[in-house]
Amino acid sequence: MRRLAIAMLALSCAACATMTPPKPWEKGDLARPSMTIGSDPLGDRGNAHVYESKEMTGGGGSVGGGGCGCN
């Protein structure tokens, strides 16, 4: 059982190792509008604006905080 678990872990790691991120010239499909998470660019911008104005003390949609150093 444990040996199987180790084998599975090694296999899954090996699978990750063969994956490389796409090169800059291979991002054509990623750049398509249908690859965005939202469906309506204008609506998404509006939602993001409201969210950031409400939640900016906690960093809004990004990682950093509001500059007070408390986050």
């Binding site: 090694a10 790691c13 190792a17 800059p24 010239w25």
Partner: protein, 178 residues
């Protein structure tokens, strides 16, 4: 007691395997140090243009060559085309050759782009991505200025309006020297 010992041995073994895998994948993912080096011989290419005529870098020896990697999905490429057309028109007689290498997987995408944004310079097609690979392109678009001896003089990543004059000055300097 015995169970505990086997448990910790198992954990150690799992940790070792995990570390080994992490190191292996890190080694595989490690990218080459930098894009094609300044002063190095520009990697050769021979690619078909719109009329399936092969354009090779070797055939352009003696010319100052401005190689531009572009794609239909790349926004700044759209802005760079009129500038490259202007450069070709202005300096073509002095020996400048603008070669725009398209890296689209689907030729139809490139053709649609070219119908919207006319190109008054040579456009070639490399759907395989071998040429951007050999130049180790880091950004889209990327431009490589190659002197008359076939050596890389400048690598420009992206296309920014405020760099137009500096790029033109470099082109002019290389043309004056050759």
């Amino acid at each position: 007691m015995n169970m505990e010992a086997t448990g910790s041995r198992f954990r150690r073994r799992v940790a070792r395997v995990a570390i080994g895998c992490a190191l292996a994948s890190a080694a595989l993912l490690a990218a080459p140090a930098q894009a094609v080096g300044i002063g190095a011989v520009a990697p050769a290419f021979a690619l078909p243009d719109g009329a399936a005529k092969i354009v090779s870098l070797r055939g352009l020896k003696g010319h100052v060559v401005y190689v531009d990697f572009w794609a239909s999905w790349c926004g700044p490429c759209r802005r760079s085309f009129p500038w490259m057309s202007a450069m070709q028109k202005k300096y073509g007689a002095q020996g400048l050759e603008v070669i725009a290498i398209n890296v689209d997987k689907r030729r139809a995408d490139a053709d649609r782009f070219l119908a919207q944004v006319p190109a008054q310079f040579t456009t070639v097609f490399d759907p395989s991505g071998a040429t951007p690979g050999s130049y180790d392109v880091k950004a889209m678009p990327s431009s490589i200025l190659i002197d008359a001896d076939g050596n890389v003089a400048l690598v420009e990543e992206g296309f920014r309006d405020e760099r137009r004059d500096a790029l033109e000055a470099r082109i002019r300097a290389l043309l004056d020297r050759s």
